[in-house]
Symmetry: C2
Subunit: 132 residues, 2 copies
């Protein structure tokens, strides 16, 4: 059985409501989850880590449409990113404001953002073994 | 006759197509235009100045709707901002990529963004004398 078969399937998970004392992901969890979203960059802003990915599109209108779709996904899940819309690109950042850190929700939403981008043809399917 | 009566009316202007050798606003022009958009902050990113304003709204859905409206305005004028959509706020940044600086277009678009925000009730009307 491959490692991939044992990996959590983030797409099947839903965000859970997040309180101020909700747990941040542990180093062990982060090590297991990070390979599932290999194209997301870990960035720190004012001491708070974020998962960040920039999606390239053809013009401003397409960027605006992608922002709208990621925003609707966020509303459905009740967990909200920062979306930077510019000509030809959208930069999506996930983190959990209340805990000033990364919650499992953020990895779930990064994976769901990737799935949405695949659905609209912005990115290809992941290489075999990198996701279930 | 008041100074305001002599001030340019940015709302009546349209963006002009901008080439790489288009003129940046001069210090004299900037001094005349800045009072017309008093709530915009001058920020520098990687050596390039921007006009930046954050609009507060009630939640994420309203932020997404404002982003959409400012984006549509940008498409109509053919001049495009960076729009940062977050829960409860949208940060709008105008500058002219091609000239790595501020063009009169950016002041026009800042004024038109203010007008749009007034139309949807996000901000009040300017104090008498600050705009025509």
């Amino acid at each position: 059985m491959s490692d991939a078969a044992d990996a959590p399937d983030l797409l099947s998970e839903r965000c859970v409501a997040c309180r101020r004392d909700a747990p941040r992901v542990t180093d062990e969890e982060a090590a297991a989850l990070t390979p599932l979203i290999p194209d997301w960059e870990w960035q720190e802003h004012d001491g708070v880590p974020r998962l960040v990915r920039t999606f390239r599109v053809s013009n401003f209108r397409e960027a605006l449409a992608l922002t709208q779709r990621v925003g609707e996904l966020a509303e459905e899940e009740g967990h909200h990113p920062a979306l930077l819309t510019e000509w030809g690109k959208v930069t999506v950042s996930w983190w959990t404001h209340k805990i000033r850190g990364l919650h499992r929700n953020d990895y779930i939403m990064a994976a769901k953002t990737d799935a949405l981008a695949r659905d609209v043809g912005l990115i290809g399917t992941p290489a075999a073994g990198t996701s279930t």
